[in-house]
């Protein structure tokens, strides 16, 4: 029988989960859990494949599980799922350490990357070439953005919290909404949102399907580039990158925890309750993960870059009593 906990999922959560797994292996008599990467979606898919030894016990995710997924899970007999939120992932904008520094607002990004912007009340194809075109306060540096590809959850956050916010702030959203076609208000809203977030494809904005190391490598080979990174990644590479502020706030674990810095997303892991008491060490692992000395503000996770969840104690209690989602058992 399998005697180690098997974890899979988000590559964003992976570093945290592996720090925990390592410490767990050292401090308990259980074997070190296996933490696979492969993406939130792939992890949840395997999580939902069924109950039993040949399925994983824990799925890491950089987003909340979707209803459709819960349903798919249930179809395969995975009904009791414990949801654990471990903290937040800060998303920062950074550029080459020796280049210009930036202080952004969401509008700047919308004006820089959207395929159409509002000029004199009309939507026109984005004419901006340099940051100075976007905002006169900026230097005349070519716009070159390395943003997460559509496979990444970060992209969704970027679209929602930066581009869409910028769209609304510049007034483009209203114009688009007025022009939108649709049967209902909701449909119109959706169409307008979709128009807002459609980005230019002329090479100014480059989708990065790889990981942050790739973004970093691109900035190294193109010094004008501005990239999107996780906070933890930036903090480990301060010798190469300088971070930009967003709406005047410097990203840090503190400013994200308080909600001042707007661009962040919650991180989760999901535990298959049916496996608790069966796979040795599963519950202990989950509890250890959210323990104060691990996930607390002074623990190794925070030290590595996790924005600690202010409501950690609630999570600890939920894990202890194995509260499942939907709360019915």
């Amino acid at each position: 029988a399998r005697d180690q906990v098997q974890v899979a999922g988000s590559s964003t959560v992976l570093p945290y989960a592996s720090i925990v797994a390592e410490a767990f292996g050292e401090n308990f008599d259980f074997p070190t859990p296996v933490v696979e990467s492969g993406g939130s979606s792939a992890g949840l898919k395997r999580f939902c494949e069924g109950v039993g030894e040949n399925t994983i016990d824990v799925a890491n995710a950089s987003r909340r599980i979707k209803d459709k997924e819960i349903k798919a899970c249930a179809e395969n007999g995975v009904t009791d799922i414990i949801e654990v939120q471990i903290g937040y992932d800060g998303i920062v904008f950074a550029s080459d350490i020796n280049g210009n520094g930036f202080e952004y607002t969401p509008s700047d990004w919308f004006l820089a990357l959207s395929d159409e912007i509002l000029v004199d009340g009309k939507m026109v194809a984005n004419p901006n070439k340099t940051w100075a075109d976007v905002n006169t306060a900026f230097p005349a540096q070519d716009i070159q953005a390395f943003i997460p590809g559509t496979k990444h959850g970060t992209r969704e956050v970027f679209e929602d919290k930066v581009i869409l916010a910028g769209c609304e702030a510049t007034g483009a959203f209203d114009v688009l909404l007025a022009a939108a076609e649709g049967d209902s208000d909701k449909a119109k809203h959706k169409a307008a949102e979709k128009a807002c977030i459609s980005l230019r494809t002329d090479g100014v904005s480059v989708d990065i399907d790889g990981d942050y190391t790739e973004t970093l490598a691109r900035i190294e080979s193109n010094k004008d580039g501005i990239g999107v990174f996780g906070l933890a990644f930036y903090e480990n590479n301060t010798d190469k990158l300088q971070v930009a502020t967003m709406s005047g706030v410097v990203p840090s674990t503190e400013s994200i925890a308080t909600g001042e810095y707007p661009v962040s997303r919650p991180l989760f892991f999901y535990v298959k309750k049916a496996h608790i008491g069966v796979i040795p060490g599963l519950k202990e692992y989950a509890e250890f993960f959210v323990a104060d000395e691990v996930a607390g503000p002074d623990g190794p996770l925070a030290e590595y870059g996790l924005v600690s969840d202010p409501e950690l104690s609630k999570t600890q209690a939920a894990v202890a009593e194995e509260a499942v989602m939907g709360g019915n058992s």
């Binding site: 098997q6 592996s18 720090i19 390592e22």
Partner: protein, 448 residues
Amino acid sequence: MTDTRQNPANNKGGSLLQHSARTRKRNAAERRFRAYGIAAISVGLLMLCVLVTTIVGRGTGAFQQTFVTLEVELLESKLDKSGTRDIDAIKKVTTFGYAPIIRAAVEAKVAELGIDSPLKAKEMAGILSKDAAATLREFVIANPDQIGETVEFRFLASSRVDGYMKGRVSRDSITNDKSISPEQLDLVDALVSAGVVEKTFNLAFITGADASDARPEAAGMGVSMLGSLFMMLVVLALALPIGVAASIYLEEFAPKNWLTDIIEVNISNLAAVPSIVFGILGLAVFINYMHLPMSAPLVGGLVLTLMTLPTVIISTRAALKAVPPSIRDAALGVGASRMQAVFHHVLPLAAPGILTGTIIGLAQALGETAPLLLIGMVGFIASNAPETIADGLLSPNSAMPAQIYEWAKRADPAFYERAWGGIIILLIFLVTMNTVAVILRRRFERRW
């Protein structure tokens, strides 16, 4: 002398030493052709050179490691409050509980050497790896009788200190770095001159297991190397015989009908299937259907076998095709069966091509990550070195390319260095593996 046409080759009395215009042209073409060949080889070798220099340049650092030697007093008051040496009680103290002991040891060392540092004890201990506590705890649990004694330890230095010793980190580069301060570097400098901090060969990198993002300095390739080794054993044991058998059937025995055509087309088509699809297949068949364990090199090996088979088959078939029919005739003519003709004569003559296919197929299998993603071999799999062959095949493990891929993604630049170091090991592994096949191949090569 009737036929004296304008053709230069037939130009009677034309000197051999004087090349005719056409010969010159043809010779120029010949030289060009040859030059293309040399150019092609040079391009290939040049690229290899560039790649290998890059790899070696970036990766050699991983084979060096900074250590800090400290005397640690294993305080009974912290480690075994009851004083009974009850192992369960000792185990209750987690690695977090060992931190103060290490801090004390660093502080004591600094004081002993008379180094003047504005740092607090916690910051001083920051030059050590997070692994130090684990090392210490492991030692104490293994030797409870040593509690209360002072023992000398060689701890890993933290990745920033290690980087500083290797020149990767400089005082300029750490201005915004939260993980290390200039004062800590001052301390390191002082400890270096005192001989407490030193950089030596890093055996643990070659033998050790993966470590988490918090302690890149402790990560090693050893266990994943074993994972790759076991997978390659599976691939070799299955792909070579099955591939050769399938090729023999198709090339030498199969009637030429639609069924064998289908098989033939299928095989070449499998070569074009993206490797991740084999991962999907492996997950469905080996793990979900056959209930083989997750993250096991056995499953990895099976998946890679399916992926490698087309390569072996295609090259083997090409090699079999190239053997002239007169050889088969000769064998049949003395009363050998077709099977005997194939196994005694054709197969040895085709061996170079088969071995080439094996070399390339194994190289491909050795470097492949994508299919392993779906069967649980990519990620953080810090298992111990397997003890038995069954253990090696069945207990969770990673593989070299997966390990490298993971490291290359991680945030700390120290992992980046290790990723390149890992590539060096992978290449050494590859070259070792290939050497055997290359030597064999040379023995079989002949022209007729």
